[in-house]
Amino acid sequence: VTPRERIDRLQALLERMLTRAAEPRAEARARRLLDDAYDDIRDEWEAEAPAAYEAEWPTESVPPPISAPIFTPSPMRFGAALPPNFAPRFSAAERGAEEDRASGESFSLEDTTMVSMASPDAPPTAEIDDPPEITDVFESRSRLMAAPPSASDEFGELEILGEAEPEDNIVAIELETFDDMPASLGRPITQPPESGPQVAAPSATPHGLEESGISLGSTAREPEPAGPSSMEMVLPSARSPGEYHADVHWIEAPAESESRTAEIVRPIIYVDVNVAEVTANTRAFRPATFGELLQATLDL
C-alpha cells in the first residue's frame, strides 16, 4: 500500500465522516485531522524511503484538497435522545430505504486510519470489521458525557451536547492537547507502517469511563497502557459559566522498542470529564414529547 493509497483511503473516510458529522465544528476538526494525517504519513515515508517517496509523491505534488460537502448533519443524530436512525417513516419500503441510507454506506477500515470512540458500554476492543458509524461516535460521546457518577465521584450527569457547549467535540481534546503533552505521557509514532492497522481499545482501565476511548488512528495490536497518568486540561472551547474540565487519565503510546506497525497518527487518550463545575442546568435534556422540545426551544 503506497502512501498515496493510504492517504486516499484516509481522505475518503474523513470525507464520509464529514458528510455525516453532526456538528459544525466537527468539519473543521476533521479537516485538521486530515491535515495532520497527511503530514505524518508523508513525513514517515520520506524519512524511511526518500527515493521511493520522491518517486511516489513528487515534492511539488500537493495532496488533493478535501472536497467533502459542507457540514450536513444527519437528521436527529445529535443529542442521542432519539434513535440514530430516526427519520420520518412512511412505509415499510421507505423505512428500509431510509435505514439503508443510514447504515448501508459501509466503508472498509482495512489499511487505513479511522476515528473511533468506544462507548462505556462497548466491549474493550472494537472489531475492525465492525467500524463505528459516525452516528455511533456521537451516540457514544453522548453516553460518555451523560454517564452516571462513578466511584471516583468525578463524574456526574452531564450533557455537554445539549447545553452550553453543544458543539464540543471530544476528539478535538485529544488532538489539541497532544502537542503539549509531556513526553512521558506519550508521543507520536514515527515508525513507518508495515502492515494494516487494527482498532484497539484499552484492555484495562482505571475505572468507569476509562473504557470510553477516543482514538484517532489505530494500532497493530491491542496496546498496553502507558499510564496511568493524569493531566488536567480544559476543553478548548469551554467557556464560563459551566466550564468543563477533562482529566486525561492515561495515554496510549507504544513503547519505542515495540514494533507497532499500524498507522498511528496520534495516541489514544482516555479522558474523564470532571463535571464539578457544571451547573445544574447542564443536566441532560431528553424531551419525551414534542411539546417538551417545543417549549424548550421557545424558552431559549
Partner: protein, 210 residues
C-alpha cells in the same frame, strides 16, 4: 406509528378536482364514514416555477402570509390526524415529525426531518421546491403554529417563529423558537456567525436553571 398516506391526495378526474387531507394515521380511519370529507381540502397542482414567480411577485410580506396560511392547513390536518393540538404536544418527537413530514411531503414541499441541538428545535427540509426559502420557512411556521395553537400561550414570547439558518443545494435548515430568540439568531447570522455557533451561543446565554 406508521403514517398511512393512502388517499392523502385524491384526484377526481370526473369533476376535475384534487383534494388533500384524507391522510390518516390509522388506515381504518381513512375509510371511516364521514371522516375524509371533513378533512379534505381542495387543492390545485402548480408547477414550482409558477409558484416561485408568484412568490417573487407577491413580495416578502405577502408571500409570507400566504405561506403561513398554506402551512396552517398542514398543521390543522396534522393536529386532526393526531387527535388535536394537545395530542400533538404530547406526541413523541418521531410521531409528530413524521406526521408533519407527511403533510409537507404530500404537498410537494420536500422531506422534513427534525434535529435537536441541545434545546433548539431545527427542521431540515430536503428536496424543497425551488422557491424563495423564506416561503418554506413561513410555511413551516404556519404549520407548527396551527398544529399546537390551542395549547400554546398567545404571549408574544411564546409564539412560534421560524428563521432560516442555512440553505444549500441539499437542504433548508430552519430554526424554530420564540420571536426573541429568532431575532437574536438572525442578528448573529447577519454578523457572520455560523448557524451552529449561533445556536450554541443562544443556549450558552440562556438563563441558568436553579
Amino acid at each position: 406509528m406508521p403514517i398511512d398516506l393512502t388517499s392523502a391526495v385524491r384526484f377526481d378526474l370526473g369533476r376535475g378536482t384534487v383534494n388533500l387531507g384524507a391522510a390518516k394515521v390509522d388506515a381504518r380511519e381513512i375509510h371511516a364514514p364521514g371522516r375524509a370529507p371533513e378533512l379534505a381540502q381542495r387543492a390545485v397542482l402548480l408547477p414550482e416555477d409558477v409558484l416561485a414567480e408568484l412568490v417573487a411577485a407577491a413580495g416578502p410580506a405577502e408571500s409570507a402570509l400566504a405561506a403561513q396560511a398554506l402551512g396552517a392547513t398542514m398543521g390543522q390536518r396534522l393536529a386532526e390526524r393526531l387527535g388535536g393540538a394537545a395530542a400533538v404536544r404530547a406526541g413523541s418527537l418521531e410521531g409528530v415529525i413524521s406526521a408533519l413530514a407527511a403533510e409537507v411531503s404530500v404537498s410537494g414541499f420536500g422531506a422534513v426531518h427534525l434535529e435537536r441541538w441541545g434545546r433548539a428545535l431545527v427542521l431540515v427540509v430536503e428536496h424543497a421546491p425551488r422557491v424563495d426559502p423564506d416561503f418554506v420557512v413561513a410555511m413551516l411556521q404556519g404549520a407548527i403554529e396551527a398544529a399546537v395553537t390551542s395549547i400554546m400561550t398567545t404571549a408574544a414570547e411564546q409564539q412560534v417563529r421560524c428563521t432560516l439558518l442555512a440553505v444549500d443545494d441539499r437542504a433548508l435548515r430552519v430554526f424554530v423558537a420564540s420571536g426573541r430568540a429568532v431575532e437574536r439568531v438572525r442578528t448573529w447570522l447577519a454578523e457572520g456567525t455560523s448557524w451552529g455557533d449561533a445556536l450554541a451561543r443562544l443556549q450558552a446565554s440562556r438563563p441558568r436553571a436553579e
